[in-house]
């Protein structure tokens, strides 16, 4: 299993196609203690990302840079800017490469987490997308099977693990007690974007 340009484009397209369904839920999750814009913001970001034609990119490095640029033009929100920071980090790490393995992607994600920590001044354990990224990286490193399944499993595990934890950054920080038992909107977004597609007959299939 490896991530190449086509898989990347497909992942972006899938995320984009899901946004309409999950936008309101993410806004609502952010409205609990934040400003209620996570969903609308991500919808805008994914719309811009999906408009990028990655097939023309010579390598993954360029593709990630294009996605980062699209994000940086679409938003100035915390989540969007951290996402762009991660994409820029991916871009540097995959320059000249046409595909990366699951294990390499895990390493790249670890580096991106460091970049996001520098940019956002948050730490692991603060109940943010950093914790989701960490869990995803661990699954990717271990996984022999599908990247998508590993990513989804990581996002889900982090979401569940941190549900009872207090939030330690941003607006929700002031209300640690209120944030216990509420999903962090950024972590929830990763799960809803990465989770396996549910078929209408109730069965699951891999994305």
């Amino acid at each position: 299993m490896a991530l190449d340009l086509r898989a990347l484009q497909k992942t972006v397209a899938l995320g984009h196609s899901r946004m309409a369904r999950i936008e309101a839920e993410l806004n609502a999750a952010d409205a609990v203690l934040g400003d209620g814009d996570t969903g609308s913001m991500l919808a805008r970001v994914l719309e811009r990302m999906a408009a990028v034609d990655l097939s023309r990119c010579p390598d993954l490095g360029t593709a990630f840079a294009e996605l980062a640029k699209a994000t940086l033009f679409a938003t100035g929100s915390s989540l969007g800017t951290l996402l762009a920071t991660a994409l820029l980090s991916f871009s540097k790490a995959s320059s000249g490469q046409e595909s990366v393995t699951s294990a390499r992607l895990a390493e790249m994600l670890e580096q991106a987490i460091v970049a996001m920590m520098q940019r956002g001044k948050a730490s692991l354990g603060d109940k943010t997308i950093l914790d989701s990224a960490k869990a995803i990286a661990a699954r990717l490193a271990a996984s022999e099977s599908g990247m998508a399944a590993a990513a989804a499993a990581g996002a889900q595990a982090a979401l569940e693990q941190f549900l009872p934890a207090p939030c330690k950054v941003g607006r929700a920080r002031m209300f640690p007690e209120k944030s216990r038992g509420a999903h962090d909107p950024g972590m929830l977004a990763l799960w809803l974007l990465l989770k396996p597609e549910t078929r209408t007959d109730g069965h699951c299939k891999e994305p």
């Binding site: 400003d35 209620g36 033009f73 679409a74 929100s77 915390s78 800017t81 920080r173």
Partner: protein, 331 residues
């Protein structure tokens, strides 16, 4: 929550278009039109001052671009930081060869985007310094004051830094003045009714028909308590207790005060709040210089008000009274 707008996605671009059409002293710039700068740039050698942030707070931020105040602003979507590209563009436009002070409120998205822009521009040889507005005492305890958000009190930092830059101070000096103005300023707000981000179908928070929330942030960030709305004087008294507990101010001091409306609160009510404010401060032997009463930093149609106090010393008082002119504030 009705709005006199067109397509929600066009909200920011259309309002910026109207803003510059109505104000020939402003110019709209940037690859995606998300920068507002002076139509007549400051003189060469003047330190530039840039601010920025999300839309929805007019006159903040773009309305403070003008002589003796800001040189340029980068502006984001409603309640969202300005993107890094527009921050770079604003800084470049504000640079007159003496470097640029980035002076904006302490919000995650804003900080990340300005930081990215400053790092990238360091490579281009534009020196920048950053000072963050952190006046909202309800947003973090005094021991974590660097985590506090910036709200209405930032206009005092604009005024001080703007006057210093206009008078020829260098970048370090302008940044020192801005930091000093921020440190001399404290704000607390109350919210009565929510607003709605144009792209959203629901208000940014729920509140009972007879309720008030003390300490709520300008984006609807939760405050200190919520209770039945009582008399305005009692609200003002508690706000001043909190402000003066956070930053004791002795008898004989001189301060400026900003009674700021969040958007839907009538001027009449702001003057009722100022009346009690004036009584409280003069009762403690504190002199109010150049009080400001009006909508200086809003959240669209949000109802409520904030009180800011800006403790003066001779330097800050001179900077406050120095002449300045932007579309929304003329001294």
């Amino acid at each position: 929550m009705k709005k006199l707008i067109n397509h929600p996605a066009d909200y920011v671009d259309e309002l910026l278009e109207g803003l510059v059409l109505a104000n020939p002293s402003l110019r709209r710039e940037g690859a995606s039109g998300r920068v507002i700068c002076r139509a007549h740039p400051g003189r060469s050698g003047k330190v530039g001052i840039v601010s920025g942030g999300g839309s929805g707070h007019l006159p903040l931020f773009t309305g403070y671009v003008g002589e003796g105040l800001l040189d340029a602003c980068s502006i984001g979507n409603v309640f969202e930081g300005p993107n890094a590209g527009s921050c770079m563009e604003a800084i470049r436009l504000a640079d007159h060869g003496a470097g640029v002070l980035c002076l904006y409120g302490n919000y995650g998205g804003d900080r990340m985007n300005f930081d990215m822009a400053c790092e990238l521009l360091a490579g281009e040889g534009i020196p920048t310094l950053t000072v963050l507005g952190t006046d909202d005492i309800a947003s973090a305890s005094p021991t974590e004051s660097e985590k506090r958000r910036g709200v209405a009190g930032i206009v005092y930092a604009y005024k001080a830094a703007g006057a210093a830059a206009e008078s020829g101070a260098n970048l370090e000096e302008v940044a020192r003045v801005a930091r000093k103005a921020v440190e001399a300023t404290r704000t607390i707000g109350v919210a009565l009714t929510p607003c709605r981000v144009p792209t959203s179908d629901v208000p940014n928070f729920q509140i009972g028909n007879d309720e008030i929330e003390m300490g709520m942030g300008i984006h609807g960030e939760p405050g200190i308590w919520r209770a039945k709305l009582g008399k305005a004087d009692a609200v003002v008294e508690e706000m001043w207790e909190r402000l003066l507990a956070d930053r004791p101010i002795g008898a004989g001091s001189r301060v400026s005060v900003l009674v700021n409306g969040l958007g839907a609160t009538p001027l009449e009510e702001l003057f009722i709040l100022y009346r009690r404010t004036h009584q409280i401060l003069s009762g403690q032997g504190i002199t109010v210089v150049q009080p400001l009463v009006g909508n200086y930093v809003t959240s669209m149609e949000m109802g409520g008000a904030s009180l800011s106090v800006h403790l003066l010393d001779p330097e800050l008082e001179e900077l406050l009274l120095a002449s300045a002119r932007c579309p929304f504030w003329k001294i």
